[in-house]
Symmetry: C2
Subunit: 210 residues, 2 copies
DNA sequence: TTGTCAATTGTCAGTGGCTGTCACTAGCCT
DNA sequence: AGGCTAGTGACAGCCACTGACAATTGACAA
């Protein structure tokens, strides 16, 4: 790796960390891009050469997490019922996610930023839009697993919608609570998913759609 | 009603209609607030005295619809199972929604704007955030119907999350399709809800939570 | 009517996010 | 060593949005 490229990475990471630190302490709206650039001693223009916008810095870490979740779902054994696959994938991927995140920024910082995301209207909106895109991706994967056409059979999109809905609820509760540990999240998620599990058919194949 | 107040309403409606017309034809990002103000021949500052932001004009009509849905859910007989109440409330409220909308702007225009909302990232994000707020409201109503505490029992938030997830999927499909009629929407919604219905317990009370 | 008061509006100036342009500098490669 | 190019800073400009103040317009009483 070049000196040039190393320098670039260092600048990007510095910008990222400075931004997150400022968001977590001062708040998102209260932080200007100039503040971030100044904290790293680069021009505002340079900031925009590394990130498409202020928002992107806030979602840099979540993006990592999403990637891992998608991979985890893809890695699930094909025999597993869809909802089960989603559940296990999510629960299992968190450990690896945590590792990957820690390499970039302290998890503790990410946690604080996550709370900012949930409590800042503009960021929450962006978060939900990203979640919607993830849903679309997952629906595609589920459909493929089951050998279905996403646009012909409603079920892939529906399970994913149901599943994501529950995840959203737990995310919100978790970020609002005072135990921000991984275990708390896992606990909350299983509890909430268990409220739906018994109510959903275990296997589509034994119950063909009309 | 005063001349003053009548004039105000006229200005607001003119701004609203001009904005929606411009969004529908030119696109949201391509329309500046100055364009909207100019179309009505008022200053940009005046626009911001009627609407908190450009976004608000795009969601003026959807806000109406949300109000009606909430009322429709509130009006459901208490004996009805939660999911059933939500389903009927939504399906039944559309007629009244359509009437109320038509008094403000041509429905056809609203339909076109809705497509713009779904296809403009910034608007889609805002739409999802609003939907999340609606969910919270509905969860409260459901909890009250069932005599539960929203924060103690997960079920209200979960049904609403599941229900809303399905509605979102149908909204997207509907707005992407080429039949923008009410009947098409109703058809799509019932079809999709029927895919979940049999999979969810009919009544919580016969199946107490753990 | 007319004069006074209050609401509505326009103008102006300024902030913050974001983009295009251009010249310059620092690292790369031969 | 020196030309090439990626990365940067400086500057100008667009757009959404806000605050402050002055001008205008409708409301209402004398």
């Amino acid at each position: 790796m070049n000196l040039r490229e190393r320098k670039k990475l260092r600048t990007r990471d510095a910008l990222l960390r400075a931004a997150l630190e400022l968001f977590a302490t001062r708040g998102y709206e209260e932080t200007t891009v100039d503040d971030i650039a100044a904290a790293v001693d680069v021009s505002q223009r340079t900031f925009f050469r590394y990130f498409a916008g202020k928002e992107e810095t806030a979602f840099f870490v979540p993006r990592l997490a999403e990637t891992h979740v998608v991979e985890a779902v893809r890695a699930r054994p094909p025999g597993e019922p869809p909802l089960e696959a989603l559940r296990r994938a999510v629960l299992e991927s968190w450990d690896r996610i945590n590792e990957a995140v820690e390499e970039l920024v302290p998890i503790e910082l990410h946690m604080r930023v996550y709370r900012v995301i949930e409590s800042t209207p503009a960021l929450l909106a962006a978060h939900l839009r990203r979640a919607a895109e993830l849903e679309e991706q997952l629906a595609g994967i589920i459909a493929e697993r089951e050998g279905l056409d996403v646009d012909a059979d409603p079920r892939p999109r529906i399970v994913v919608a149901l599943f994501s809905g529950v995840i959203r609820v737990t995310e919100r509760l978790w970020s609002a609570g005072d135990d921000l540990s991984l275990d708390a999240m896992r606990q909350l998620t299983t509890t909430y998913l268990d409220q739906v599990g018994p109510a959903l058919a275990e296997n589509w194949r034994t119950e063909p759609s009309p």
